[in-house]
Symmetry: C3
Subunit: 403 residues, 3 copies
């Protein structure tokens, strides 16, 4: 058996005797203590839409950790390790009150930061309550989203602000959504069954738009995307951007700028309404665990605007399609789920069209090492005065050049 | 990665950097050769209700072993390893006759103690039939239950008798039931998806009754259980008991005595009719495997009494409830399944209310070591004259003390 | 724990303390690089019915490998490793054209032998296309079946011809079918959930026919099979055969000859129409992976003959039966699935009725070692002049002997 697996690729390029392949574990493992997991934990991550966090406990799974999320009756959200520190019954069956959450089994009561307030079955409601601190994570709410910080407490950064979501006018509103809509184009799938990296690799990849979303089967965004763009990639202080230029029929040059921000954030201009100049939304590709992810988006909309319709494939939303129909008109979901739950990066053949992805992955790996060596990764700040992030993304138009 | 997992608990009690947790394997592993498995195997275990054992073979799974159970046409029950000693076809597809069970493939015939009686495809019906002995376990029936002994043959003890199930009057009957009713309170779940130990930990825990079953959401037993009892625990010759005293409104002292018998038996007085003095039932928490268990109960009832109604949660049986309803009114099932398939005992914080559980677990571990060292555990006897077990459990009332 | 598992079988033949059992891995592991997998790969294996191979890509799973099968619009079939050599998206979502198949993500185009023809997102459609050769397997079509060769390219043998499928007359036709019909007797199960070896062990086993298929529950083939045959086994140049003789009521001797050909082929005479002299079909037991297999049959039939009805169990096809009905009238499927996903050969007790199976397994093991030592196994030839295989199988009748 050793010989077969160690043999080099057959000279005729056949499948016999290929070496076993493997993922890039450094970028795909997201659990506690893993390189990428420790990187992700240095940043605030969105864990829920604020409006969905109520006094009924719910499970969330993020970065490979199962947690309980609830809002006490004073309106304070809490994110706790689920197994009660008494004998391990899940706080999913707990009851929320003004002070926090009480376990169903013996009534041990914890506040939103896990402090044990009472042990009803103990004399005097319990002594040594400190010992029974329920493990917890700090939470902050902004933009209609609940953010959690799951990293080393002494390294907790300031929660960033994004310029495109600030100074919201009276005729505007911010909307927060959670689900795998960036993959399917609709609201039918809460969690996608594959690694966050498959989506993140899609962000700095303007070339697939001309094939998958335009010429391969159906136009999924706008006809202009059938033109193969000229692309420049450039690194920024906290990520990677691309500028994708297309010469339109009317002579204008359409310059589409899209952004990746460390470690898992994208700012992609509207792909359906390409007249919209500045990008109006930020999206996180949130790892649920090594082989699942979901997405959280905050969009700036006119007040009362109807919800975004989904992407349609020959008139149908993804959630309405059969497997055969998805085979006929694949979109991002098929391209990404088709890489498997975790891709086998050892067998990739990256080309010039992948240089944006190469830049992203290099940046991620470099910052993983910064964190492993005890440093602070880019995009993290402890100075509230430096919390504002400026986004470059948008659909820009340059007048035709006069001869 | 090593640093993150070995780091001590954060000073702020947060969830970052916690050590990995683990079960108490000594008490939760029940397969052949495991410490607790070898302890369990030293005692007769109930494997089925007698009335359910018929000439159609059925699968049973006990202590991590899959077995076939049937009754030959002479009325003798047999418990055999399922894979025919010829070429491994399961005796589930076998046919039962007067002599035993015949495998469907080549007709090899075995009696209820696994003796191979015939090999039809062999000349003269087979030679060396002894070599093909189908592995088997001895069985005895009593109280309407089929008991099996799965331990070392030379250590087979006498099948115990329980005083509360003896001398059944003409106007009484014994009823046997099997299923996870002690967890759900109804008959809807044959097997519970978690370790036997979660149920066993519930037996010597009178305190949770005041919370989970009374004040947390709904009264699931009787209103008197809303009073937190004063509890004394004491060891007995074969287990642990508690005496839980409550002062009632009418001045009487209600003393509820409940018993745990080695290794997995409980005798709990009626929790719904607390006027019933002596306990009328014995229940085994039968490990199916490491992460599943079921229960077998023998009850002494008046002849023709209607079946016990189940516990109702806001009028509904457990099997009728949605997950949301179970979240609203959790019972024993939720408290126990909420500990996971196998609890993580390393992160428990046992308190004074857990002293009964601590006594039980110490006793189990001590007897596990007795068995491992070649001795006989308590509760096991080889002397038929000593087979009778006296139970102490019941609902007792002491008149109010006169000043 | 060591003592319990190493102890010898109890003297009373009981189940306590049995040693752990295990499969014969040498014969059941079929993946790349395994002993049996490497043997299987030295022969052409049938992977699909030709009529089912169309321009829509489909998954096939053979010998533990997931592959994509399609027919380009010039009619050429291709069998490719599914993960595109660019970034791993499955070619299941690819689009087939005149030249081959294009991946949905970036349009990389591959022909039926995996040559990369174009990379649309690359300048000039890509350079170094050779580097991105999609792993592939050679295919040949014959008898209405698509055969694949998955072994070392330099050892690719000639695709065999079978005499009973040659020289098909104008009033005859060949029909190809795929599915687990040899196990269930009908067309309801595409893949059986157990090892190929359970079926292969069934071929050189004429004795079970008298029990399982005749006297155990119902007559599943013909009444004459209720007679226990006198059997001779003999090895041939490429396999093992048996001659099973039965004396019929009319004095004739019925001699049923059945063949096993290395490594997984059977030629079994019609079991339902036993007047049919020469066998008219060849069947492969095709390993899907270690614990699944399927079957491919080519039958020679009169043109326009109705399809074969399935085997009926008290009037019902297997696909129409409940589990209880299958327990009442088990057939080959129950006998084989009852051995588990992979049988535990270490606990078999083979008898005289198993000598055909013993001969088969010895031959398989001997040829596995020939291959491992660098030689060519029997039944493989590189000489087109030696491609023809002569089958012996059939239902033969000898007139009664005159005194």
């Amino acid at each position: 058996m050793a010989e077969a697996t160690q043999r080099k690729r057959s000279e005729d390029g056949g499948a016999y005797g290929r070496l076993p392949q493997h993922p890039d574990y450094e970028l795909t493992q997201v659990g506690p203590g893993t390189p990428c997991g420790e990187l992700m934990r240095r940043y605030w991550q969105p864990v829920a839409v604020s409006a969905d966090v109520v006094d009924r406990p719910q499970y969330v799974r993020i970065l490979g950790e199962d947690l309980i999320l609830f809002r006490d009756k004073k309106g304070r959200p809490g994110l706790l390790y689920p197994r009660c520190m008494h004998r391990g019954t899940t706080l999913f069956y707990g009851k929320v009150n003004e002070e926090g959450i009480a376990c169903c089994y013996h009534g041990w009561l914890f506040d939103v930061e896990g402090r044990c307030l009472r042990q009803p079955c103990e004399p005097d409601g319990g002594k040594n309550l400190d010992v029974a601190r329920q493990p917890w994570y700090p939470i902050e709410e902004r933009y209609g989203v609940v953010f959690a910080y799951m990293g080393p407490p002494e390294k907790k950064p300031v929660l960033p602000r994004y310029d495109i979501l600030e100074d919201v006018g009276l005729d505007e509103e911010l909307r927060a959504d959670m689900g795998a809509f960036g993959a399917t184009g609709d609201n039918s799938l809460p969690v996608a069954p594959y690694s966050w990296l498959h989506m993140n690799d899609n962000v700095m990849d303007p070339f697939h738009v001309q094939v998958l979303h335009s010429t391969f089967s159906t136009v999924q965004f706008v006809p202009q995307f059938a033109l193969m763009p000229k692309v420049e990639f450039f690194t920024t202080e906290n990520g990677v951007c691309y500028s994708a230029k297309r010469k339109l029929d009317d002579g204008r040059e359409y310059d589409r700028i899209s952004s990746f921000l460390m470690p898992n954030v994208m700012c992609v201009p509207n792909p359906v309404d390409i007249n919209q100049v500045k990008a109006n939304r930020i999206t996180w590709s949130l790892p649920v665990d090594d082989s699942h992810f979901t997405m959280v988006t905050v969009s700036r909309m006119p007040k009362g605007a109807p919800p975004l319709g989904g992407i349609r494939f020959r008139g149908k939303l993804w959630g309405e399609m059969t497997e055969r129909e998805r085979q006929d008109t694949p979109g991002d979901y098929e391209a990404q789920v088709g890489q498997g739950p975790i891709s086998l990066h050892s067998e990739e053949h990256l080309a010039t069209s992948d240089r944006g992805i190469i830049m992203q992955r290099r940046m991620l790996k470099a910052q993983i090492r910064v964190v492993a060596d005890g440093g602070d990764p880019i995009g993290v700040t402890f100075d509230p005065g430096k919390a504002l992030v400026t986004l470059r993304s948008g659909n820009f138009y340059n007048a035709p050049q006069r001869a």
